[in-house]
Amino acid sequence: MSATDFSDQFRTCQTTGLKVHRPAQRLIWINAVSAVVFLLIGGVMAILIALTKWQAIHLLEQDLFYRFVTAHGTNMLVFWIVFFEMAGLIFGSAVVLGSRFPGIAFGWFNWGLMITGAVMVNVMMFTGKADVMFTAYPPLKAHPLFYLGIILFAVGALLYCFQFLYALVIAKKEGWHKGSLPLFTFGLLTAAIIAIWTLLSGAIAFVPTFLWSLPKTIIPDGSFLRINQVDPEFFRIAFWGFGHSAQQINLAATVAIWYLLAHLTTGAKPVNQKMCRIAFVLYLLGINLGSVHHNLVDPGLSATYRIFNTSYLFYAAVIGSLIHAFSLPAAVETAQRSKGLTRGLFEWLTKAPWSHPGFSGFALSFVIFGFLGGVTGVILSVEQLNMVSHNTLRVPGHFHMTVVGGTTLAFMALTYYVIPLVLQRKLIGEKLAVYQTYIFAVGITIVSAGMTFAGIMGAPRRHYDIEMSNAVFQFPYATAIKPMLSLVGIGAIIAATGLFIFIGIAVLSVFFGEKIEPKVEKHVPPHAAGAA
């Protein structure tokens, strides 16, 4: 196919000079909008759950509480995050490389699979046919359509990942781009590879479970498709290859987005590209071994297996993160110092653009993800220490710092750039966006701190009633546990305020913001064979 066929499908971004493939832009739009819809659903669930955890309010009834925890977990951890990441993959390949995105119709088909799956899962959850939590551990059984929905969603996302890889190949082959991938795209590439592993694991976990959940009227006894029992530990291993690796996609994508945000806000350039890229490769090697965190106190596994895997391959992936922990601020510092902010050790930091949502979002999510989420995560995943933390509220405490305070906040900050630059609408309420990042960061830190300390005192996760008032025995928990749980409620109100401000800004801007007229320019592959 001749690459010149696509030359009139491009526009030039007036701010950055990037060449944007306009059909790809619409794919980014639909994925980002879908992401925000599920974020909204998850956000409403979040506040209802948190107000139930707050023992003095104890808002929901038991069954609704468990149903909404399921819906909150699935919508936030899977649908919001993965839809946004798919938007990110298209942005990182086509837009950043100034390339065409191959297979636009295929892209829409993949989105169709994902949205069908996501809607199916949500219908099943909210009609009470899948009160099985995000983890859906068999023998706890949900409606077959719940599993089918997850499989459809995973297949759609998996195809998107392969399409992303194909887009990278096409960009080089047709000459849209030359040389190494930009660091941002490289980071997204590691995220996409982690995603491929994630979604394969998801298929291994959920396909047998789906067959097992089908009634005998559909798959009779004796059929080779009949599965009477899913081994619970097999499911746990396969599921966490999906469930936790899905969060490692966030990690790689978030780090890539930090490099981009640092660059957009302060002009930071990675000091040493080799160091940053090695850190990403270390993620590929080690990070998905860490899925065993969830199985550290499970029966059937040896200490050697546990230690080797929970150490992420001798802490290779942690070393990767620690490299970023230095190289990201170093990039910002170098850029700031070159602007003359050289006094003392920290003038570069105090005079950073803190009133810029891109920078404040980046810096806050960096601190929350690294200082709080990363440290608690590594500690939870020590084989012996997991005994005093497995399935306590410390676990949600940890991943609210990483996924919410880290990834979600970074995604929010990026959205404030994506809306004008890619979706071509002026931001409505730009000033509010600055406050939004701080409100959200403070709220989610309070939530996570409350959860972590309650968990240290033994509060279980996914538990309706710390007073055990309906049980035969009442265990007298430490009195300090209730104030901690009320912190969860208070923090959730603050964080949800920030979240709803974000959704308000995003939705208003995308649908009613002032249109930025596209500058349509012909664009041909600059490095194609035979090109001037």
């Binding site: 230095f326 601020p329 510092e333 170098t334 050790l345 570069w348 690294g370 500690i379 005994m387």
Partner: protein
Amino acid sequence: MSDNKEKMHAPGSLVLALIFLAWFALVYFTQWIALMKNWVVY
């Protein structure tokens, strides 16, 4: 390499990173000490 190239580019970041590592180690070993007070299990 020349001396000029060997000077610190980002001393502030190195200090920040070291503070981070100190906090990491502190929390990490606190947890081990807390675990040692528990029942004997193996």
